[in-house]
């Protein structure tokens, strides 16, 4: 039950994009096509889960016993960068088709603040190993959901008449504001 709450909390109630503002850059940059939004969401989810596991292990078994907690930020960002590189190589080897489909989005995941944010939140809230795993999954699901919803809306927006000054980022942020308001409706769930 506790795990279910963590999952729903990360995916809906405190959606990473719409309530913590993490991962806004891909949210605005990548979300213009539904297919690429979904691929991006999946790749990010995978990296999120891996990051949650690896950073938890590193913190619990390397940094904490050695008293090196002050190196947390440096260690975590290096782990994220290494993981993204690793995921890129594995996908390239295992499934060249998927690799081509994701293209440039893969390396960009390193600078997605949702990833580092997840690792930091896990430490701040003192989650255990299994909780971290579920938290990562929930965050990924929430990110994918927000990205796909936004992509769907933006595909429709192309047909709408938008004031010139608000074209591009402006109207995207307005849509995001509306979505954030809608997601507030989940607040009563837990």
């Amino acid at each position: 039950m506790d795990l279910l709450l963590i999952f729903l909390g990360a995916a809906l109630v405190n959606n990473f994009v719409l309530s913590y503002f993490l991962g806004i850059c891909p949210f605005i940059g990548v979300s213009s096509r539904l297919s690429s939004a979904f691929s991006m969401g999946m790749a990010t989810t995978f990296v999120l889960v891996m990051t949650a596991l690896v950073t938890w292990l590193v913190q619990a078994y390397i940094l904490a016993p050695l008293g090196l907690e002050y190196l947390q930020t440096v260690a975590f960002i290096l782990i994220v960068a290494a993981l993204v590189q690793f995921v890129e190589m594995v996908i390239k080897k295992m499934s060249p088709a998927l690799y081509r489909a994701l293209g440039i989005y893969l390396p960009l995941i390193t600078t997605n603040c949702a990833i580092l944010g997840l690792a930091l939140f896990i430490q701040l809230r003192g989650y255990g190993f299994l909780q971290s795993l579920v938290f990562g999954l929930g965050a990924g699901a929430g990110f994918t959901l927000a990205l796909c919803l936004m992509a769907g809306i933006r595909e429709e927006l192309e047909l709408a008449e938008v004031p010139d000054s608000l074209k591009g980022a402006g109207i995207t942020l307005m849509v995001a504001a509306t979505m954030a308001m809608a997601f507030m409706g989940f607040a009563g769930m837990i």
């Binding site: 580092l116 000054s165 942020l173």
Partner: protein, 232 residues
């Protein structure tokens, strides 16, 4: 005239023409997340300015020794080091502020403004110009964050920097909520686009006007002196 900007221009470009948040759309996450109050906005931007100046300076000093294949990783380590310095200092000295900014101080590591300036500017320019660039970008970021924070604080609670400025104001709670952040930024972006498009339009008008005048002047002076002068 090798496309080099003067000292003043180097700083000023970050304020409007290349404002990191409003024109380049970089560093959106902290812009939206911490600007619930003006104080938070200012604190966040001071932290970013510090990291930006230090990392720009450091990277421009070591830029010739870093192999280009591993440069991004090297930049990130340099940035992360300075962020750790800021994070620990704020935890020790300004505990309250550090608590209200939460995970967003360590998250400066992935603020695209800093990595963006490292890659786009500090890796190609000397230390002095890199510092100027960092100051300009930092001030541009500060102005944006303070404006956002002030707008959201005034409309959301009728206060500015904690002091009541609108007595009897019915707070617009939505401005403090995430939705208000998106909305405020969208409107500011719209306003900035509107102003810059009007400016461009005006600039184009004066350019057309000027070239018409100079052409007429040249023509008349050429007629007066004969076409042999050539130095017009």
């Amino acid at each position: 005239m090798k496309g080099q900007l003067s000292t003043k221009q180097e700083i000023l470009k970050g304020l409007w023409d290349q404002n990191p948040t409003l024109r380049q759309l970089l560093g959106m996450c902290p812009t939206l997340a911490v600007t619930v109050t003006a104080v938070n906005g200012v604190a966040m931007s001071l932290a970013v300015i510090f990291v930006l100046i230090c990392s720009n300076l450091m990277i421009s000093l070591v830029r010739n020794w870093i192999p280009s294949q591993v440069r991004i990783a090297a930049y990130i380590v340099i940035i992360a080091t300075f962020v750790t310095v800021v994070d620990l200092t704020m935890k020790a000295r300004f505990t309250e502020l550090s608590n209200s900014l939460g995970a967003f101080i360590p998250l400066i590591v992935v603020n695209c403004i800093i990595l963006g300036r490292a890659e786009a500017f500090a890796s190609k320019n000397g230390p002095w110009r890199s510092i100027l660039d960092a100051v300009g970008m930092g001030v541009g970021f500060t102005l944006t964050l303070t404006l956002m924070g002030a707008l959201r604080e005034i409309l959301g609670s009728g206060r500015l920097f904690g002091a009541v400025v609108l007595p009897g104001w019915e707070p617009w709670v939505v401005m403090i909520l995430p939705a208000g952040g998106f909305l405020t930024l969208a409107l500011i972006l719209g306003a900035v686009n509107l102003i810059s498009r009007q400016r461009e339009h005006a600039a184009r008008q004066t350019l057309v006007e000027e070239s018409r005048v100079t052409r007429r002047l040249k023509l008349s002076s050429a007629r007066a002196t004969g076409v042999t002068g050539g130095e017009a």
